[in-house]
Symmetry: C2
C-alpha cells in the first residue's frame, strides 16, 4: 500500500502524541489501530473516537498494519525497534515520533530489509501528557520533521509525508544528526534554562516567599517548559547528550558575556548585545507571522 | 487631598505604562493630566481619552497636581526627581512606576520635606511600548509593588494604595532593596536568559537556517522577553546591577549542575533535579490558578 487512504495505521503508544495522531488521521486512512499496555488507555481512545480498534498486544496490533507509528518515549522506541521487525508485514512503513533522531535512526538500520524505516518528529506538544490531553488538532500547523535513512524508498518517504500532512503538519526533511543538533539549541536548551530558572526562583522563595508575589508573566513564560513530563525530557536529554551539553555551554558563554558587560557598566556594549537579541527575536516573530504562524 | 476621587493626577511620560494608567484612572480621580515631551503623544492620549488635559512642560503639568506619577524609564525618573521637588504643591504625593526601586528611593530621600514620596512598580507590561500600545486594562490583576520611605506618611501610602487598586492592581508593600533582589531573580534573570537563548539560536541559524524550522512554541515562550524595549531593560539592569549579577551567577550554578549530571549520565540525579523543578513549577501554576490568576 502506497496510499494513506487505504492504509491500516497502527499507533503504538496512546499518550498525548499517539492519541492525538489517531484522531487527526480519522477518516484519512483505512483504519487506525491503537496499541497500548493499559486497557484504560484503549478504552478512552475508543470512547473518544481517536482509534477504530484497540490492541493490548504489540504483535496483534501491528500484524496487518501498512504503517506502524511508534508514539512512545525515545528510549521505549529504541526497545520496540528491536522487536518490531519480525512482527510486521513486508513493505511496512515504520515511523516513530521520538523527539531525538540520531539513536532512533541508528537502531532503524538494523530492521529487516523488507521494512521501510522513517524517523519522525512532530514539533508539537503540551506540558500535560496522556490520552486525556489528546486532541486531533494538536498537529495543526506544526513542523513535522522526517529523517529518512539511505535505504528508505522514495515511496515510503512520500507515504510519510502524506501522513504528516493528513495530520495537519508541515513535513520537513532533515538528516537525523542535523535535526538533533538544531533541536538541542531551539528546544532542549530552552527546557534546561526553564528548569534552572525555576530552581533559582524557588530557592529565593524558600528564603523570602514574597518572590511569588513579584513573579509575573515574564517568569511564567520563561519557566513554562520546566513543567514538562520528566520521563519524556530525560529520554530526550540522555539520547542527545553531546548536542545538549554543547548548547548549554554556548549559552553559558553568552550569559558570561552579558554578565561581564553589565559588571563593567559597559552601557554601549550591553546595549549592542541586547539590541541584537531584540532584533533577532522580532525578526523571527515577524517571519512566523508572515508564514501564518502564531507569535 | 487624601482621596483619589478629588485628586488631580499628573502622569509624567505617556508611554505604555503612563498612557494605560491614565485610561485606568479615568473617572476615578478629579482629573488626569498627561505630561510628555512629544506633542503627538499628548494628541494621541487625548484622542484615545486616556488623559483629560495635556502639558508639554513639566512645570505646567505638575503645578496643580495632588499626585504626580513618574512613568518614564528608571534613569529618566532619577533625573526628574532632582527637578520635581521645587515644582509641586506642598503635600503632593510623588509616585514612580520604575522597574527597580533602590536607586529611585535613594533619590526620593532628597525631595523637599513637604513632598510625600512613594516608590511604585506595577508588575505588568508588554514587549511593545508607546502610547499606541496603551490600554486601560493593562493593570488589571497585576501586583502593584509600593515601596514607602520612612518619611512617607500613612495617608500618602493609603492614597498610593487607592490609586493602585483603582487602576486594577493589587498593592503589595515591600522594602526597596528587597524588591530589587526578588525581581532580579523572578523578572530580570528571565530577560537575560531569553537574550542569551536568542543569541545562541540565532548563531545556529547563521550556520544552518533550518533551525528556524524546528523552533517551536517552547522556543517562542522562553525567548519572548528578548523582544523587550532595550532602553527600558538597560535602565533596569544598570540600576540593579549587583542583584542581577548575583541572580545570573546562581543560574549559571544551576546550569552547571544540570550539565554535570547529564555529562555523567547520572540518570537518577538528573531525574531528581528535573522532577523538583517540575513540581515547583506546577505548584506555582496551581497557586496562581487558585488565586484567580492566569497560567
Amino acid at each position: 500500500v502506497n496510499e494513506l487512504a487505504e492504509a491500516q495505521v497502527a499507533i503504538v503508544g496512546l499518550g498525548l502524541m499517539g492519541g492525538s495522531l489517531g484522531g487527526a488521521l480519522k477518516g484519512k486512512c483505512g483504519q487506525v489501530v491503537g496499541v497500548a499496555r493499559r486497557r484504560e488507555s484503549i478504552e478512552t481512545a475508543l470512547e473518544r473516537g481517536l482509534i477504530g480498534r484497540g490492541a493490548l498486544d504489540l504483535e496483534d496490533g501491528v500484524a496487518e498494519a501498512d504503517v506502524v507509528v511508534l508514539a512512545t518515549p525515545v528510549r521505549v522506541i529504541l526497545k520496540q525497534l528491536a522487536e518490531i521487525g519480525s512482527l510486521v508485514k513486508a513493505g511496512c512503513l515504520v515511523l516513530d515520533l521520538g523527539s531525538t533522531k540520531r539513536e532512533v535512526v541508528e537502531r532503524m538500520r538494523q530492521l529487516p530489509r523488507g521494512v521501510q524505516p522513517l524517523g519522525g518528529h512532530p514539533m508539537c506538544g503540551k506540558e500535560v501528557g496522556g490520552i486525556e490531553a489528546a486532541e486531533p488538532a494538536l498537529y495543526e500547523g506544526c513542523t513535522f520533521v522526517l529523517t529518512p535513512l539511505e535505504r528508505t524508498s522514495a515511496e515510503a518517504v512520500a507515504l510519510g509525508r502524506e501522513l504528516a500532512e493528513a495530520a495537519g503538519g508541515k513535513p520537513v526533511l532533515l538528516e537525523a544528526e542535523r535535526h538533533d543538533r538544531l533541536v538541542a539549541r531551539a528546544s532542549h536548551l530552552p527546557y534546561v534554562l526553564a528548569c534552572a530558572l525555576m530552581r533559582v526562583v524557588a530557592d529565593a522563595g524558600e528564603e523570602d516567599a514574597a518572590v511569588w508575589e513579584v513573579a509575573a508573566s515574564g517568569f511564567r513564560d520563561t519557566s513554562r517548559l520546566a513543567a514538562s513530563e520528566v520521563t519524556m525530557t530525560l529520554d530526550i536529554l540522555l539520547t542527545n547528550r553531546e548536542a545538549v551539553l554543547e548548547a548549554v555551554a554556548r549559552c553559558e558563554e553568552e550569559l558570561g558575556q552579558l554578565g561581564r558587560l553589565l559588571a563593567a557598566g559597559d552601557e554601549a556594549g550591553l546595549r549592542a548585545a541586547l539590541t541584537r537579541a531584540r532584533e533577532e527575536r522580532m525578526g523571527w516573530a515577524g517571519g512566523r507571522r508572515e508564514a501564518g504562524g502564531q507569535e
